[in-house]
Symmetry: none
Subunit: 197 residues, 4 copies
DNA sequence: CATGAATGAGCTTTCATTCAT
DNA sequence: TATGAATGAAAGCTCATTCAT
């Protein structure tokens, strides 16, 4: 088989591909990945179904491309956030990470649910996720170093921080009964109490 | 249009319903919820499709019944674990919670992935989950009390512990590159360092 | 095959059969023949599905038994109506026929729609209907005689009267924008103007 | 959930839609509406099931489209018949109406049974029918005017004529024991005797 | 006689993907 | 390149009827 999907070289082609991606993102966000079919995507994009399959192998490929965008954006945000801290204050570092994570959750509200679900359900996306998770944990390890965290097991520590921040950020964005700012401070407290012991 | 699903009264009926549930659990675990259809379930159970629809409104209803089982089992395990601690040692309490959570993840390995995915994807299951999550957080609050944790905001603290334990337990069970026992101890350290501050 | 349906000899049996018939009539009337399934009938009657099939070969047999009832009742009403006329007044005769027909339409409102539909759709019922139609036409012929109608072709005349009265009675009962009494009088006028010419 | 049925633009598409309609008409006529399923229709048309659902929401929609055809054809025939009368002879007018009605019954022999049954059974079709019935009655009223029929209640008169002609035409076409031509003449006699009184 | 659990053929409908134009 | 009509496997679900208890 190995049916290559066309590489868009010309301007119209690039535009079409972008239109399809945006349409897909919109519909996946509003109705969910499974409840959106390819015909709806092309209708939303104002492009024909044939063109869709010229650029994307299948529906999942569009989805994965949106995930790439999401991941790139998150990693960039994280980088920026950490780089913007100039005073070497640990609280600030941690807060930057948490807020960046929450920001992404807000920006991709709705779509992120679909993405998380696929992480548990689809092997390709699970794999893709594991790689990125490792990358983020490595970033956290780097930050722990800058924070002069001298524990015998930095890998475990970074992993723990990741588990906490990851789940906390999603949950705090998606439910309303707790005071958000206070919660963020507590989350930082928890991490600092651990790393400073 | 009051089409009730039959409630099994006779012995054979009860057995058949159980067989269907087991078959569904097996297939959901092995192949995933979406990749399993009702005909496969009845084939696996050795029962006719009509019987399936006599007991279950649709595939999701079987799924939700398995979730109920999972939830009941988890809550029971949690209860038992906490009750078995006799010496009022905080470490032991926390370890009991973490190990109970990890146990359930191991026992429902595979199926749990489907369950988590559905939490992000299906509104009924999302709701069901939110209720149980609140219940577990209330349990954690109770434990914090017993641990004489005197923080100004117990709700946030319990929420934080939940986020950490929930994500940690799943991840530690599903990946192998960290030392499990050491990680559990670190997780407890982190919590204790926070609650003892 | 030739699976005989049990003849109900004992009291309970007769009661059960009657209960089933009533339940079926009710549901056929409310929801239509096709939208009523055998399980709903037995549920409504408070009797088991097995018992249903002990007394009736299938769903259609119940339906046909209700038609028998309908037909018997109509023919009786017609007979009574004609016999009650003592003064040999033609108007009275015709009115009696029309009102009897309308009465039946009112009493079996809802069910009659199902019955008529089946006349056009099911061969057995079509046949059954043709026989009864002939019987009614013969009654009309008898009445024409009593009315001293001396046309060269009584068969055609009776057929015409049947066509008019049959359709008129149904339509006048099932729609409200015309004055019913006036319409009945006009209908009689039309018939008399024809038979008296 | 705006799933539109495609409107056929290209030649092949138009042909396919027509093929499906013809196949459906044929099967509905031969085997009845209820005994025909969508797979049989597409098989008869030599077209795939997916294409069927691209053009028709469901089986009933095809049916209703055939009814539209039937209705259009009947109304046209009626119009033509009335317009072709040049000598203002009442007999001719009435005969034209009756023959046009009988013609349609002959042309749609078999299918008409299904249509009539649905009028009594399906609410959409019942409604559609009531509208057309009113239209025909208004046509009859127009004709009564041209015939200088001066009765106090033209609405009732037109309604009566409709009832008679409608039922007579169907019955005379569908049963053979009466002399058709003679019956038609008698039917006209009956109407004239009434309208001329 | 009565019960009601079980059966499974049969029908409807969807949608990812292809390919002729 | 772009189009969109056509495909058909695959899934969901119903219900008249049987038969073991």
């Amino acid at each position: 088989m190995d049916k290559k999907t066309r590489l868009p070289k010309q301007r119209r082609a690039i535009e079409n591909k972008a239109l399809l991606l945006e349409a897909a993102k919109k519909l996946f966000t509003e109705k969910g990945y499974l409840n959106t079919n390819s015909n709806e995507i092309v209708k939303e994009a104002g492009i024909s179904i044939g063109t869709f399959y010229a650029y994307y192998k299948d529906k999942k490929e569009v989805f994965m491309e949106i995930i790439d965008e999401y991941t790139r954006e998150y990693n960039m945000k994280l980088e920026e956030a950490l780089n913007s801290i100039r005073n070497d204050n640990d609280r600030d570092y941690l807060k930057a990470i948490i807020l960046a994570t929450m920001d992404i959750s807000k920006k991709y509200y709705g779509f992120e649910d679909e993405l998380i679900a696929m992480r548990y359900t689809d092997n390709d996306i699970k794999l893709q996720n594991e790689i990125n998770q490792k990358y983020i944990i490595s970033k956290i390890k780097g930050m722990l170093n800058r924070m002069h965290f001298k524990n015998q097991n930095q890998d475990i520590a970074a992993f723990l921080l990741f588990c906490l921040v990851d789940n906390f950020s999603y949950n705090i964005v998606h439910q309303s009964d707790l005071d958000v700012d206070a919660s963020v401070e507590h989350c930082i407290d928890m991490i600092l109490s651990y790393t400073k012991t």
